[in-house]
Symmetry: C2
Subunit: 127 residues, 2 copies
């Protein structure tokens, strides 16, 4: 069977902006670790728009090689701004063109999700 779509597991790409400071990726690594802890065996990869590697294409290639048939691309961005409206959909379209047999979903920026908004508000109040 040539298609991962019917056979493969669902993978997750945590896709962030990236930054020059290598420590910037720390929380994203902790998110990946938390996913592995909460849902053991979930294929998960980090990817970055700039400054850091791997790229979205490289992360998707790795998940597909590991057998993912569906990939959920989760923007680890604070809000649905210009990058999410313009740049990221183009990158996802490129990844789709490279892997037409893999279903890819690009969801809304994580920072827009109610529980994330609330967690940041609670952190702000915690002092």
């Amino acid at each position: 069977m040539s298609s991962n779509e019917q056979t493969g597991r669902a993978g997750i790409v945590l896709f962030g902006h990236g930054a020059r400071d290598p420590e910037w990726a720390g929380p994203m690594k902790r998110m990946a670790a938390r996913i592995e802890e909460t849902a053991p065996g979930t294929p998960v990869a980090l990817a970055f728009m700039e400054f850091m590697s791997p790229t979205l294409d490289e992360a998707v290639d790795r998940l597909v090689r590991d057998g993912a048939g569906q990939i959920r691309i989760v923007p680890v961005f604070l809000a649905q701004g210009g990058h999410l409206k313009r740049d990221v959909p183009l990158l996802v379209d490129q990844a789709r063109a490279r892997h037409p047999d893999v279903g890819m979903t690009l969801v809304t920026a994580a920072g827009e999700a109610e529980p994330v908004v609330n967690a940041i508000a609670e952190y702000a109040l915690a002092g």
Copy 2:
């Protein structure tokens, strides 16, 4: 009494990077609303490093004018990267110099907080 420090309430500045897209500020506005809902009467202001207004100085001035004697500056950033290590402390020092009678605390980037990391991981898994 000339000092707010002994008399004033504790205020919060939600300090974000800012972006060209005005919708980018949406989640930060929702965080401020959540703070007002959870802790009614807490003085809270948004501030931005670039692209959006007000600046940190403007937000701090407003909170001080409203009687804040302590201000907690909460970076709404995903990680403790270059901006938080270099640029933001300088801006906070400027604000402190303008208001030596107001105690200001700059906390770690919200995205580093465990509950925020976990909320994003849960969002990533939610599909």
